[in-house]
Symmetry: C2
Subunit: 170 residues, 2 copies
Amino acid sequence: MITVLRLGHRKDRDKRASMHVALVARALGADGIVFCGEKDDALLERVNAVSKKWGGKFRATFSASYRTTIKKFPGTKVHLTMYGKPVQGAAPALAGKKLLVVVGSEKVPRDVYALCDCNVAVTNQPHSEIAALALFLREVLGKKAFEKKFPGAQVTILPSEKGKNVKKYK
Amino acid sequence: MITVLRLGHRKDRDKRASMHVALVARALGADGIVFCGEKDDALLERVNAVSKKWGGKFRATFSASYRTTIKKFPGTKVHLTMYGKPVQGAAPALAGKKLLVVVGSEKVPRDVYALCDCNVAVTNQPHSEIAALALFLREVLGKKAFEKKFPGAQVTILPSEKGKNVKKYK
C-alpha cells in the first residue's frame, strides 16, 4: 500500500502542480494522497471526481500537520529529494512495503529530512516533483505501475495506433 | 539522440509546466527541447541557465511551426498521448533510435496524431505530460536514464542519506 504526502500546497500557485502530483500518484499505482499546506477543498473534489469518472479507489484527503502524518504513519517513510540517495539503489529494498512517499513543493521544511526513514533522489539534477514521484513509483512497483486496474470506471480508453478511442459505460 | 517537442506553450499559463517538461527532458537523458506556441525568450533563458549551472549540453530552442519541425525531423516521431499504445510494448522498438518525442499541453491539434510515426501512452489514465515524458524516457533508455553525465557543471549534488551536500566548482 502506497500513500503520497504532498507538502506545502499553495491554493493559487500550486493549483496545477498539486493536481498533477495526485493524478500521477493515482495512475501509477499509489492508493491515496494526503495534502498539507493551504486547505483546498476544490482540489480534493477535483481529484476525487477523477477517481469517480476513471475508476479505482484512489482518494485525496487533507492533513493540518505533515509532522503528525509522517510520525503516525505505520510504515516506511520516504522523502523524495534531489539531495537523496539514488532511486536505482534504494527502490529494491522498498518494494512490497507499506510506504508514505513525501513530495515537497518549493521549500521543504528541514525536519522532513530527519522525520523520514530515507531520502531518495530520482537523479541528483533539478527537475520536477511530478516526474520524481512517477519514476519512484515505476522503480518500486516495476512494470506493474503501468498496469493498475481501475474498477468501476465510467469511462476508459482503448489504446489506439492513431486517434482516440473512448468507451463510456454510463 | 532524443529531442523533445513541447506543443502549444502559453507564456502565462504554462510557465511552470513547460519548465518542468524541459528539466525532465534534460535530467532523464534527452539532448534538447524545442518549444512551440507563444514565443517565450525568458523560458529559453531559464532552461539554458540550468544547463550552464548544472552541466551538460542540453539546449532549449523555439520553433514557429510544430508541423515543420515534425515533418523535417530526420528520425522517428513519437507522440505521447493517453490515447496511444502502451509504452511497455512500444519502448523496446524505439531504443537506440533518433527520436522526436512530442509532448502536448491542454489541447493537441488533430494532425499531430497522423504526423507522428506512433502514438504512445504511459498508462491510459489522465495524469501529467511531465510524468509521461519522464516515464517514456525511462522505458526507452532503461536505467541509463538515471545515470546521465553532465560535464562542465558549476555545481553538483553528492547523494546524501540525510540533509544536503552540494559541491560548487566555480
